[in-house]
Symmetry: C2
Subunit: 276 residues, 2 copies
């Protein structure tokens, strides 16, 4: 999409675009709806909610791309209507910064602080100390398909293929490494734009599932994503790793690489390690 002015990019179509769509309601307020089926253990996936909030913030900012966004998760999101209050704090030459707070009724679900811009204008010197994760082909990886509560219904809305070494946790064979690697795309060849990347960085099973620790779930406190570029079409290679489980918290660091081998996003989340 490079070269097209931000405001004339075509609206995306597809089930992800529809499930994250927002409409302007009153000034500074947007209406959306948490679609059925995007949940994990009954609660909407955090990256999906962040993507919807980011669409509202992008609309308020008049900028297409989240450059860096942070979400703090306040309450679980359930299927149904939501409103998103946006406030632009600075509207600069290259970037705009603002907040978006999603509510179900009067209950805040998540708070977002983000800086948005137009990534098609990016450029500069390069230094890359890293590489996309090596993965068997998508066909040779383990497709995660929903089956009742686990894998959760959310997995029916994304196409996730785990590295076989990282998928064996599901049959009780944790690798011992708090690592999740795999491929990500949206079903039906729906394009993954900079906003859909916010879903990709929270779509994989928790790294802790491979850690051989007594950790059954890791609710996200905070998730930050840095988006470097709109991905080229095709599969995304993803890698999530945890280095430090301490004091009841863990971090999960993510990298997303596109089909041309370019780093398109980085993420870090802080999650709780529930006690007992």
């Amino acid at each position: 999409m490079a070269g097209l002015p931000a405001r004339v990019r075509c609206a995306l179509t597809g089930s992800f675009a529809a499930a994250t769509a927002v409409q302007p309601a009153t000034p500074g307020e947007w209406a959306g709806s948490i679609a059925p089926g995007w949940e994990i253990a009954g609660n909407a996936n955090g990256g999906y909610l962040l993507a919807m909030a980011a669409r509202a913030l992008a609309g308020a900012a008049g900028r297409p791309d989240p450059v860096t966004v942070t979400a703090h998760y306040l309450s679980p999101g359930r299927t149904g209507d939501v409103r998103i209050a946006t406030q632009i704090l600075k509207d600069g030459k290259r970037f705009a910064t603002g907040t978006a707070t999603m509510f179900a009724g009067d209950r805040p679900l998540l708070a977002v602080l983000g800086t948005l811009g137009d990534l098609s204008q990016a450029g500069g010197p390069e230094l890359i100390e890293g590489a996309p994760p090596e993965l068997p082909s998508p066909e040779e990886c383990v497709r995660v398909v929903p089956a009742g509560t686990f894998p959760p219904p959310f997995m029916g809305h994304v196409d996730l293929r785990l590295h076989p070494d990282d998928a064996a946790f599901a049959t009780g064979h944790q690798s011992g490494q708090p690592l999740m690697r795999g491929w990500f795309r949206l079903p039906d060849d729906e394009p993954v734009d900079s906003i859909a990347l916010l879903c990709a960085v929270d779509a994989f099973p928790p790294t802790a599932f491979n850690a051989r620790l007594p950790i059954a779930w890791t609710p996200t406190v905070e998730l930050t994503a840095h988006i470097r570029a709109n991905p080229a079409p095709g599969w995304l290679r993803c890698r999530f790793a945890t280095r430090f489980v301490t004091a009841g918290f863990l971090e999960e660091d993510g990298e997303v690489w596109d089909s041309t081998g370019r780093l398109v996003g980085q993420s870090r989340q802080l999650a709780l390690v529930p006690r007992g």
Copy 2:
């Protein structure tokens, strides 16, 4: 400080505590002042500003410790009075989440979204895939002392000792590795609490100075810190590294370890790589 209820912890005294102090003004608004001398190239250090905003947010939340805070930098901060508008979005059992926006007059300087709690109550299983950086003793490292504009006046308010391998950039001998390692403490044995850690994670020279790239400065767009614990007294071991300079951006990842060898904080910032 473990074991003391959050609200009866003693007020810290010292020049950092004084320079970051805030007073309640009207409900939801705090008054502070950017102290002279905390600047780099004429602009107040970003970690220093974040610490001041976090004090206001901690006051508004009635919780002592920033668990995870994100700042977006909107305008340079100059010496003088500021006001900080705070809003608590959720006041939960264990954590409170809110925003703090710092203004000089009507000009927003930084926007903060944070979740606060009491880290003395933390605990759980541990997994540590990492270690404090190996450093020569503080006496054998390179003390960074202000000298006109470079090193900047800010360095007179912190006690920073760089690993000799990472300090040679100052004499034109970049290591080639985008890495900065060293010791941090506050002068006069002022304790470093969870809020002062927010200054530590932005106190070191940019990793890019060691990268052998045409990068003279790297203005911060966004900084996120995860605080795991209040540090034990003594020197902090710090490590900052950059892996990806792409599309006009770079990330800088930080780790801070206390004198007992415990990870007390992680940070990541997204900075601009100015063109030309």
